[in-house]
């Protein structure tokens, strides 16, 4: 699997994502600058990392979603390249229109920074095939604006089409339907607020995120 990580000004989880992907793929994972207009050729996976891109100015992920590299990312996604957006990356995906809905200020207004239990809704995607359907995994969250909102029609559609990837067991931010992560209709784009890349090394206190990266390597 050939993967790359997009770096926006203010991204700060790009290195963690690169480390997790390199550990899984055994290959170098390039960082791609937001101001470039082209992606490396032959990519199987594009990662949009966490952080505070553009300082969260205007809206989280809003300006990143309009960065020069993004048309290439959207085109790649439309051609079937897998995209993983984590935290700020999820925000960028909703702002770019690759995923529906929006991420708003946490309902309790506090920045939430702790490990949370997530239910893996199903294992029928290149991201979750390493888990069992219904499995509960423990993954860190660290965000101020992780409250997933969408109108009822969109939420019903996500549920009906099986596009909810992860649900919070104990909702830390008020997200509708306890949604922690969602897929695009073809399940090749995943946006999630929790950080699987922070739970993929024994030194970090858990390995619940590692199956995602291993599954991607196997699938792609």
């Amino acid at each position: 699997m050939k993967a790359a990580v997009i770096v926006f000004p203010g991204s700060n989880c790009d290195r963690d994502m690169q480390v997790a992907l390199e550990a899984a793929t055994g290959k170098p994972v390039p960082m791609v600058w937001h101001g470039d207009t082209e992606l490396p050729s032959g990519l199987d996976l594009i990662a949009l990392p966490g952080g505070f891109s553009y300082g969260d100015y205007l809206r989280c992920g809003a300006m990143s979603a309009r960065a020069k590299i993004m048309p290439a990312v959207v085109e790649a996604a439309n051609k079937g390249v897998a995209v993983l957006g984590v935290c700020n990356g999820f925000q960028v995906l909703t702002e770019a229109g690759l995923l529906p809905g929006a991420l708003m200020r946490n309902a309790a207004l506090k920045f939430v920074c702790r490990n949370v239990d997530l239910k893996v809704e199903d294992n029928a995607s290149p991201f979750t095939s390493g888990y069992k359907a219904g499995q509960v995994i423990n993954i860190p969250v660290a965000h101020h604006d992780g409250n997933y909102v969408a109108d009822d029609t969109t939420l019903d559609q996500l549920e009906g089409d099986g596009l909810v990837a992860f649900r919070y067991v104990d909702n830390p931010n008020g997200s509708a339907r306890n949604i922690a992560g969602i897929y695009s209709p073809n399940k090749r784009v995943l946006g999630m607020m929790p950080h699987p890349e922070r739970m993929a090394d024994p030194m970090l206190g858990g390995l619940d995120g590692k199956p995602m990266f291993d599954a991607l390597v196997e699938a792609l």
């Binding site: 205007l58 809206r59 309009r66 909703t94 929006a102 708003m104 207004l109 909102v149 008020g174």
Partner: protein, 80 residues
């Protein structure tokens, strides 16, 4: 030419920050505040000279960047 854009959360969207402000006002002794919602003001200075053209361009800016129309609505004032 100056344009002032107001961006607010749509009515149907929960605004916990507005709620927090509401409580803070009550805590300061301001009674009778039934609801608070907060938004953004964005001021633009434009080189356009035609009001209609300016309004059309600012509308485009709102649709494309200044507002997230999934959750926000906007209005525009053009001042010559």
């Amino acid at each position: 030419m100056k344009a002032r854009v107001h961006v607010m959360l749509k009515r149907a969207v929960l605004d916990p920050q507005g709620k927090a402000i509401e409580h803070a006002l009550a805590g300061l002794g301001f009674d009778g505040v039934q609801q608070v919602r907060q938004g953004k003001v964005i001021d633009l200075e434009l080189t356009d000279t035609d009001t209609d053209a300016a309004k059309a361009r600012v509308t485009d800016m709102c649709e494309k960047l200044l507002a997230n129309t999934v959750i926000e609505s906007y209005d525009i004032e053009i001042e010559d």
